[in-house]
Symmetry: C2
Subunit: 188 residues, 2 copies
């Protein structure tokens, strides 16, 4: 029996808000469960019983913040749409805050559900862009292809090689996935 409404919902909202507030006040690394509980007007045991530990709570909050709040903008062509989306994605995700959210989402995630949700967000956004292109009659790759050739390389570098990432890298990846291979140049 799950109880999604009423007091439980208020506690969840209050705790999430407390995490966001305190993270911006004292910094993410200084967060503790008792501190969050006090700000949320809740006892620590409530947090531990619901989320298990600090990492799972942070993972929960991170996934919410990584959820796109709006559909990708329509620039008229697949190339422009994908480029703009990739540019924004890289920009947001490679920032210190973005990297912290990604790490948190991956971290406190025993069953992989939160990570899967993050990936689903990106896939959904890309799906919108590609469906739009199909509606225009433009030839377009599949969602999985874009994930493999655009999202995955950006995410890999964000996580494993944070240095030297810039807009032109996103541009090269998008160009690569849209360009017939003969004319392609190395994205390195």
């Amino acid at each position: 029996m799950v109880r999604p409404g009423g007091r439980s919902a208020r506690v969840q909202a209050s705790v999430h808000a407390a995490v966001r507030e305190l993270a911006s006040e004292v910094g993410r690394d200084a967060l503790t469960v008792p501190m969050i509980a006090q700000r949320a007007g809740v006892t620590p045991s409530t947090v531990y019983r619901r989320w298990g530990d600090l990492q799972e709570l942070l993972s929960d909050v991170a996934v919410e913040r990584l959820r796109p709040d709006t559909a990708p903008q329509d620039h008229g062509t697949l190339s422009c749409d994908l480029t703009a989306w990739a540019e924004q994605f890289l920009d947001e995700m490679s920032s210190p805050a973005g990297r912290a959210y990604i790490r948190d989402a991956l971290l406190g995630d025993p069953d992989g559900g939160n990570a899967g949700r993050c990936s689903a967000y990106a896939a959904e956004q890309i799906g919108v862009v590609l469906a739009r292109a199909a509606g225009r009659g433009e030839p377009a790759p599949g969602v999985e292809t874009v994930i493999d050739q655009v999202v995955a390389p950006m995410m890999y570098r964000i996580l494993f090689r944070p240095d030297g990432l810039d807009t032109s890298y996103a541009h090269r990846l998008v160009a690569g996935v849209l360009t017939p291979a003969g004319e392609r140049v190395s994205p390195g």
Copy 2:
């Protein structure tokens, strides 16, 4: 003034060994610093002073275990070499143990140094394979291209979508990076 030898080295080796032993005995999630310290014949404060916290210690150990112990085998052609390497990489990294190591390496890694080291290991192995191909006179892509189109997609799926990964996925990725784009099929 750093002291890499003598007692410090013994403590480091002893603690690392304790982590590996205990991880296989009681499971990674049950590890605690006091437990590790006792097994290593060391006081907890020593571990905290040297590694900061449990996550950084586990990150340290994880990176060591992710280091390849041998050069990629030579199968005679670039295609075979890369395929075999990618297959083994995916196999090792997508296992529960492999995923735990990757997560640990990413996790307790404030400055990104450990994650960078992991990426460098892969780049080095790929570099060997590609240099071998060049020695044979085979045409070969650059290391960065292979990382973008083979390593990154595998790692992305290991971290964000652990389901449905198999050998054929690695094969498709390698085929994709070695095949002139006109004849390419979608890797999805």
